[in-house]
């Protein structure tokens, strides 16, 4: 398993496609907590469950003012279809070209497999990582850790 960035580390910035003609950068979200959820692949079964769960918990994340971003090496058209079919109400970022560049910066890239770890980061409103967790690839990490980390963020 990779050595993911830990608490206290400044979150590396990025600007990635969320739609075919739109990019989103971490800097744009400064002032709000951000949940970054790296996951291996759009259509793999565990990912589907994990993203479906986050979709349902989204309103709890919002209570903390937090934005959730899903991120994988899948391309923007793949994300688009995945989000549509699963009715996902949060952005999916394409870490597609150069492949996995952002995941590598977070220590969340599986070099042998060529896709992201199932890694979670909670970033505070000033852009510092406050909590991170890397789950075994086949295990859905759930939302409890994220909620707890959001509750523990300094107000």
């Amino acid at each position: 398993m990779s050595n993911i960035l830990g608490p206290g580390t400044p979150a590396p910035d990025f600007a990635l496609h969320v739609t075919p003609d739109q990019k989103l950068s971490l800097g744009e979200l400064r002032g709000k907590p951000v949940i970054l959820a790296f996951y291996p692949a759009d259509w793999s079964p565990v990912c589907g469950d994990q993203m479906a769960l986050y979709n349902e918990v989204l309103s709890e994340f919002k209570k903390h003012g937090a934005e959730l971003l899903g991120i994988s090496v899948d391309g923007v058209w793949c994300h688009d279809e995945f989000a549509k079919v699963r009715h996902l109400h949060f952005p999916l970022l394409a870490d597609f070209e150069p492949k996995g560049e952002i995941a590598r910066k977070y220590g969340a890239y599986r070099h042998d497999d060529g896709f992201c770890e199932r890694a979670l980061f909670v970033i505070d409103k000033s852009g510092t990582i406050r909590w991170s967790y890397c789950s075994p690839v086949a295990v859905n990490p759930g939302a409890d850790g994220i909620l707890q980390a959001l509750e523990e963020l300094p107000k």
Binding site: A52, V57, L88, N140, P141, A143
Partner: protein, 174 residues
């Protein structure tokens, strides 16, 4: 090890004696096919253990994935308010392929519950808050999908065939 954070209370839907040595809690979704598969297995497990086992069902509908799950859960809660939770629960799983408003009304009628009243309850989302409370309690306990079982407060990870559940329950009762 994920632990059940919300203790069993009289507000839960409970089958069995509260003094039973083993307590099985399921977080389920009425439209989830895996929960549908688990339904008869749980019945067999209950028969197998008899008075040694208490069973609790809590709601964990994934609404975006299963558009009929929330309505079904609300119908079960409506039935619960009239003392008929388990009949509705069983009816929903036994007719899972036909889930939808028509089935909810038909089941209500079969249980001699007021059809206009259940219609109102569903329209007004009367039981939505209770279901959401179940759901969030599940999230905090490490329920990541359905069905998720807890045996004496510990999450049961892995398969949930009859033999798996029996073995896990035996182990918890030692």
């Amino acid at each position: 090890m994920a632990l059940l954070k919300v203790p069993i209370t009289p507000d839960d839907h409970i089958q069995g004696d509260e003094r039973a040595p083993v307590k099985l809690v399921e977080y389920g979704d009425y439209e989830c096919p895996y929960c549908g598969r688990a339904y008869p297995i749980v019945k067999r497990v209950q028969t197998h253990f008899g008075e040694r086992l208490l069973f609790v069902f809590r709601n964990f509908p994934l609404k975006e994935m299963h558009p009929n799950a929330e309505g079904a859960a609300e119908a079960a809660e409506f039935a619960a308010a009239h003392g008929r939770f388990w009949e509705m629960h069983d009816g929903l799983y036994e007719n899972q392929a036909d889930l939808g408003l028509d089935l909810l009304l038909e089941l209500a009628k079969t249980l001699r519950l007021s059809v206009p009243d259940i219609r109102d309850a569903l329209t007004q989302r009367q039981y939505a808050a209770r279901i959401r409370a179940d759901f969030l309690g599940g999230v905090r306990s490490g329920v990541n999908g359905t069905p998720t079982f807890f045996i004496n407060g510990r999450r049961h990870d892995g398969p949930f065939e009859f033999e798996d559940l029996v073995a896990a329950i035996e182990a918890a009762d030692e």
